[in-house]
Amino acid sequence: MTASMTGIVGYGAYLPYWRLDRAAIGAALGAGGAKGFRSVASFDEDTTSMAVEASRRAITAAGEGYTPYAVWFSTTVPAYLDKTNATAIHAALGLPSSAGAYDAIGGLRSGLGAMKVAGTSTMLGVVSDVRTGLPGGADEAAGGDASVAMCFGKSSGDGHEPIAVEIGGAAAVAEFTDRWRTPGESTSRQWEERFGEQAYLPLAEEAVAAALKGADLEPSDLDHVIVTGLHARAVRSAPRACGLDPSTVVDDLTAEIGNTGAAHWALVLADVLDRAGPDQTIAVVVLADGVDVRLWRTTGAITSYRDRHAVPTVREQIDATRTDLDYARFLTWRGFLHREPPRRPEPDRPASPPSLRTHDWKFGLVGSRDETGFVHLPPARVSMGSGAVDRMEPVRMADTPATIATFTIDRLAYSMSPPVVAAVVDFDGGGRFQCELTDVDPDAVKIGDRVEMTFRRLYTVDGIHNYFWKARPAATGHEIGTGKGN
């Protein structure tokens, strides 16, 4: 039944390196905070850069040769308006110009819609969010940051087998003002909590019942029930209201990493797929200005997919991280604490014409390799060894692991999170590159450490985000590679 259907052929979750202990909020402010942790995008990350990281993982997991026809990107916190954000993701993945790139931004439920569209063909859907609130408020503590990407496709005979296919779904939409944020605001507001709960629950009942009926399923047929939404109270009440078995409702991870907004349902789904067996039924119930329900069934391919274990699981990312982020640093990164800058000039904005000319380098980390095999980073026209002109081939380095040749800690350089750790890294197979290290403890860096490249937002000047690559300590056991080398 499932072999000819389009389904998920690979997925990748990206949780940023940092966690904030919610107790740190209460300790600093004398009020607020809570138990547990929330995930925190670093100062050099945004929804676009995290989406690149999740997408690289999804494409790696999908296997060699997977190239989507289009990228569908969704977030409630877009890095740009007017300008498409998915194009930066497209560029960082090194996709052909013929592949589409589309944003679905603003509302939380857009993520579900974007993923639904992506799921109709060989396309990549990616949801990403950076959630916060005013210092001391519930949203600040309850929020989280993450991105999840899913590669969709049909059984191709070349190794891309759907591991889960959609078997049904339903929606119950309503217009009511429970949570809102006007453009330009960095935090959202919410109506009195009990209003939202009573608005959501009948919609949840309606959508769940319709979805089950459409798929000819009973609640007892569901192996995993995922319920997410920004209205925590309604999310908690919904399973019972819908007549779902509480024992099938999965942990929504909010205690450990917070509610990651538009990315959250996909993150919990990724966690379920990380451990689900074949032929299991998964219901995804998303409460966002109405309720959407989607039903998935895993296939037999999930076993071999998981055996490949090509990218880190959600659980691995939750477990292996730093939980000692200082609250003041968190506030600084999110723009709520304006710290004295170093007495150094701000960097210049990246200029558009050179950024377009070096598009493959800037976004895809594509260098050039000469006839002797010497890799030039950035790409050069003239060979370092022979002086030969224009006898180069492009070589993508973004997915190649590297080793730290030397490094230094720059306490003078302009940074939102000093000190800057700069390293000279040697790529496996050739190529030397000097770049910044990120997600790193400056005191723990050593020559010889293994690193992998990560797409980051270096800085923003005049509203132009300067995206480029940094290195970070390699995730043990997983080396990024999309198999899309030029």
Partner: protein
Amino acid sequence: MASHGIRDKVAIVGLGCTNFGEHWDKSTDDLLIDASNDALASAGVALDDVDAFWLGTMGSGLSGMTLSRPLKIDHKPVTHVENYCATGSEAFRNACYAVASGAYDVVMAIGVEKLKDSGYMGLVVPSPAHDGTGSQLTAPASFSFLAPAYAEKYGVDPQEMKDVMTRIAWKNHRNGALNPRAQFRKEVPKETIACSPLVAGPLGIFDCSGVSDGSAAAIIVRAEDAHRYTDHPVYVKALSFVAGPATGPIDPSYDYTSFTEVVRSAEDAYQQAGITDPRAELAMAEVHDCFTPTELVLMEDLGFAERGFGWKEVLAGTFDLDGELPVNPDGGLKSFGHPIGASGLRMLFECWTQLRGEAGERQIASVAAGKTKALTHNLGGGPGACVSFVSVVGSEPDA
């Protein structure tokens, strides 16, 4: 490389140098007027006697009018020169060639930089529009790669390495304490240097040269005319300048323990000057001590110490004011700061002063002992990607 040089074809007959420091009360114009007047007086010539000018500045002005306007130079050629931290030396080099070519009789090379007006810490280098992918490293961070690399390669333990760096800073400040033109004119205890706050890698504040304003100028004539201006001219023996291919940052074989550009420019300069044993033949050297590990590596690149032994020579005092080969007897960039366009000419000012025996209480003994040649060196950029200048000047024409 066909580098024929112009040994003994031109001579310096006058030099001027302002005090270096935080000149809140002086503009770029003021500094240029002061340095040029000093140089003219030193040579005993008037502004009208100068046929052409080379002005070195990296960021304090554009075009020759940066000099012609304040000096009211009357419709004469003024060339603006920029070559990173070798800017002042580059103005001098091109001015010398103009005289050697026969195009002019009397020329001035002048360098200036007004750094303190920017309001920023450290050096700020303007850049053309870019794609945002270039290195954001500051200069101290870039040069800080040298110290651990050198220590690793030659088995120097980190504490010994710190002692070596500290001794270089201590030595240069000690020399600068004797120099009325220096920005910092007092000795600094080794403990203060060693414990100064870190700026980048192992480099503390005292491992970095200062930021200052200053200007210096030289009057250059044909060698055969030199005695018309002074009884003690200083002859140009060698001028070498190289721009490297900037491959260090992309070349895995580059190990951050040498500046190949310096090695090459030194070889060229020694060949031009006929020097075979620089350590024995030179009376002194003024080198580009932008950061303490830079001076250490330069001792080897310039051939003053065997590879891997420079650190021992530093600790042994070989390059002290009373050592075998005094290095930076005027106090170096450490004591003067580094007003980019002025530094190279400031170094020549010290050679001029020492070779003529006019250095007072910091006069080096090697001159009285009969050594007649001095070296200046500048580099601009960073390890693996820089420009380098080496000159040799001498108080006697070679036979």
